[in-house]
Structure formats: structure tokens, C-alpha cells
Amino acid sequence: MAKSIFELNEVYFSYLNKIPALNGVNLSIEEGSRSAVIGANGTGKSTLLAMLDALVFPRRGSFRAFDKEMSENILNNDEFCRFFRGRVGFVFQNPDTQLFCPTVKEDIIFGPLQLGVAHNEVVRRLEGVAATLKIGHLLDRSPHQLSIGEKKKVAIGSVLAIEPEVLLLDEPTAGLDPQTTRDIIDILIAQNKAGRTIITATHDLHIVDEISDVVYVFGFEKKIVKTAPSSEVLADQNFLQEHNLIHIHRHQHKNLVHLHSH
């Protein structure tokens, strides 16, 4: 059996100690695996990813990563902090907050520089990322003046430049055109083939099949209500509908009305 990277055991988390966001979550992620996290709005997907990236910590329950019990304390240790940040990369849901440098280029090299990567290696990664994501022409622009899709790509690039072992992606394809979505999925698949672990939160069921083997479904009670192979989850129409993941479509063909789900 492969090594497990993240272990969550009965984890509870609430914002400001009053808005519950995770209500008893159990989860185990193996090295090199592909998982998807799906669920209706506000069910705790982003919060889960933030926890896996050690940005928030459980109020109750245990969270282990790389065989260590995670807490704010352990990340105050510089050595472990660098180890962890270099291994786990997080693409935020909102690219506006993720991109904070004056130029796209500086945003992409920010991570590697902070983590002490040598300068010529930083330049190599910058060129590599720019080529993979086809954002070479944006490098000197200000990130905040890009289109949403371009921002998203830059945000992904800024994380890929860190070359992390684990990629956490929060809605990586939201608002992207079909071709760009395709490109991003191909990149993710390639990353996984290269041995990286990918965990994606998404509403886009079309991509779930391609980027995951296991799907975690969050329910309105803010915990995981189903863990199953992606094909199984995707096949269960009633279940998906119950969790706001598909909606009934009403079509009118001539005088005939017919219903089907999307």
C-alpha cells in the first residue's frame, strides 16, 4: 500500500468559532493519488483544502501530514515549514487574492524564491511554466489587469513553479473557456503521471472523471457523505441531484416538453 500523505480524523473547524465549516471530516490521501472533492456551495470544500495546506487547523480532531501531527506550532519551525511549503502547493479559488506581485513574472517566481531555490533554477522554472501554460506574452503585465481566465492560469503557474509533490486545486477550471479547460486538465494529468498527488475541488462534473479516481462528496451538514470511485458517484443521478450537483433541465422541442439532468 502506498504511503499516506494526509490523514484527517474527525476534524471539526469553524470560522470565528461560530460559523461551522467542517463537521467531523475523515479522510486519507495516498501519495500519487488523484482525488476530487465535490459538493454544493458552502459545504466546506475550500476550507478542507485550506486545512490540507496548513492554513487553518482543526478545532477538534486530528490532522496528520507527512507523518506529523499538524499544528500552528510545528509550522513555526522554519525547517519543517520550508519542507511543507515546498511540497504542497495550493491554487486558491479566487485568483485575485493569490496574485499579489506587481508583475506576472514576479508572481510566478515568488514561491521558488521564498523557498530558497537557486536563481538560475528559478529562471528555468519560470520559462518552463510560461511555456506549459502558454503565458509567455503576459509575463510583464500586472496580474490584476488580466482576464479571469488568464489570472487563473497565472495562479496555477505560480504554484507549478514551486514544483510541489501535492497539488491542491480549488476550482481550477471555473470560468475558463473549453480549450483552456482542456489544457489545464492535460497539465494536471501530466503532473499526476509524474508522480504528483492531485486533489481538486470542483463543481465541474465533466472533469471529475479525468482528474480523479476517488471522489469525496460534501453534504449540507459540512462533512463527507460519500467516498467512492468517481465512476460510481457520477453514475448515481439521484444522489448527485440531492446534493445540488446536477439540475433538471427542461427542454421544449416543438410542443413536447422533456426533462433530463445536466
Binding site: A50, D53, L55, D78, C81, R82, R85, G86, G89, F90, F92, N94, D96, T97, Q98, F100, C101, P102, T103, E106, I109, F110, G111, L113, Q114, L115, G116, H119, V122, D140, S142, H144, Q145, S158, V159, I162
Partner: protein, 280 residues
């Protein structure tokens, strides 16, 4: 009345757009020109030295000379001179004229009268010394403002921030400045979007009480958003390995031409000192 409101709304939006464009457009900075091609560190130093020369000199022709030099630099940097004047001539020197104006009169600067007249039954006169010091003051402000605008116009703001770091301004300070700049932009976007959103939902804001309510709610919202955003941005920095002291990469390269330019400006500066001695 309704028409009037509309007009004010429209012009406020126009001002916002103009503001956004004038601060955030890097159009001039990305053109090919003399100053744009200079090493930013040397360029900043040049401008700084010229500023000092303008401040130290006490001769009107000399400062006017520096101003002329500044205009020439603007010209060879493919900046439209009318555009440049628009940016520099109107506001700031205009205000400085207000400040300098009292110095013209014998009440503040006694000396040989140039012209005398009666004001509110008082005999006042413009003195030669007064005119000279007001003139110098005005010219200095004009020249300093022009030099700074020239630097800002021909340098991308991100590069400008980096230059600050070269001159040993603490990194954290530079970083915060960069973020402020970015936020101003973001907030202007938010204001614009919110305005459009309100408009599309409520049509025209007809009653002013209702308008006030919406605006008040929005300000509170903006405040909260900025707080949330700050938290999230900080998380994003932490997530990518930030640990208190940001590290950046410098890649400036100065060539022979840059050093020559610096040499020229340094001699202007020395000339200003020497000429002061000579005048005394």
C-alpha cells in the same frame, strides 16, 4: 434635477476611469525612448541629482535650464510634450503659485518696489526681491514636479519599487507600497462594478435617502471585503513559503551610456554648487 444627477454620476465615473488610466497605464513606460532604455537605478539617481541641483541653485536662468533639459529628456523619450504639460503644468505648480504669491508683496518681502497700487485702502507694492523669490520658488516646484513625473512616466511602477529596494529602502516597506498600489486598483474596480450592479438592479437611484442607504451599506461592505482580502492574500503568501522577509531577484544592468548620463547630471549638480559660490 434628474438630468443633473445623471450628469454628476457620469462625470464621477469618468473621473474614476481617468484616474485609473492615468495612474495605471504603463503606456509611456513601455514605449521605446531614451529614458525608457536607461538602467532604472541610474535613471532614478539622475533624476535625484537633478532635483538636488534645482533645489540648491539660486539662479532663475540655471533652474530654467534644468527645466529645459527635463523637457528635452521628455522629448527624446517619445513623450508628447502637450501631454507632459497637461500632467505637470496645471495642478501642482498652480497651487505653488498660490503659496508663493504673498511673497511678491512688500508686506512679506521688503525691498525695491517694482509696482505699487492700493488694495483695500492699503498701499502695497510688489518688490523686486519678492518677485525673484516667488519666481524661484515657482520654478523649483515646476522643475521638481516635472522631473518626478518624468521618472514615473518612463518607468514601470514595479521597476520603480525595485529601485527603491536597491537604495536600501526596507523590503517590507516596498512590498506594502506595491500592495497598496494594487489595492487601489482593485478597489476602483470594485466600486465601478458595484455601481454598475446597483444600477442594473435598481435602475436609477431616484430618492436620495435610498441612495445614501445603498452607499452606506457599500462602504461597510468594502471595508469588510478589504479585511477579508488582506487575510486571504496573507494566506496565499504563506502558502507559497513567505516567512516574514520577502526575497526578490534583481536583474539590473547598467551600460556605458547610463554611466555617461549620470556623469552629465553630476556635472550639472556640481555646476549648480559652483555657480552659487560664484554668485555670492
Amino acid at each position: 434635477m434628474a438630468e443633473n444627477n445623471h450628469f454628476i454620476e457620469r462625470s464621477l465615473m469618468a473621473v474614476l476611469v481617468l484616474f485609473k488610466e492615468s495612474i495605471f497605464s504603463e503606456d509611456c513606460a513601455s514605449r521605446k525612448g531614451f529614458l525608457q532604455a536607461r538602467d532604472p537605478r541610474v535613471k532614478a539617481l539622475m533624476i535625484f541629482v537633478l532635483l538636488l541641483a534645482a533645489l540648491f541653485s539660486r539662479s532663475i536662468p540655471f533652474i530654467a535650464g534644468i527645466y529645459g533639459f527635463c523637457l528635452v529628456l521628455a522629448l527624446v523619450s517619445s513623450i508628447d510634450i502637450l501631454f507632459f504639460w497637461e500632467r505637470t503644468l496645471f495642478f501642482i505648480p498652480f497651487f505653488s503659485l498660490f503659496i508663493a504669491a504673498p511673497a511678491l508683496f512688500n508686506i512679506f518681502t521688503p525691498g525695491e518696489p517694482l509696482a505699487s497700487f492700493h488694495l483695500f485702502g492699503m498701499a502695497v507694492s510688489i518688490t523686486k526681491q519678492g518677485a525673484a523669490s516667488a519666481g524661484i520658488f515657482f520654478l523649483r516646484v515646476l522643475t521638481s514636479v516635472s522631473l518626478c513625473v518624468l521618472l514615473a512616466l518612463t518607468t514601470r511602477h514595479s521597476v520603480l519599487l525595485k529601485v527603491l529596494r536597491v537604495f536600501k529602502v526596507p523590503q517590507i516597506f516596498v512590498m506594502i507600497m506595491g500592495m497598496c498600489y494594487r489595492y487601489i486598483y482593485l478597489f476602483m474596480e470594485i466600486i465601478q462594478d458595484t455601481y454598475t450592479a446597483i444600477k442594473s438592479r435598481c435602475g436609477n437611484i431616484s430618492s436620495s435617502a435610498r441612495g445614501r442607504k445603498i452607499v452606506a451599506g457599500n462602504i461597510a461592505n468594502l471595508w469588510r471585503r478589504s479585511y477579508d482580502m488582506h487575510n486571504q492574500v496573507y494566506s496565499a503568501m504563506i502558502s507559497r513559503g513567505y516567512s516574514g522577509e520577502p526575497k526578490v531577484m534583481d536583474e539590473f544592468r547598467a551600460g556605458l551610456k547610463d554611466w555617461l548620463c549620470l556623469g552629465v547630471t553630476l556635472s550639472v549638480f556640481i555646476l549648480s554648487l559652483w555657480q552659487n559660490q560664484y554668485l555670492n
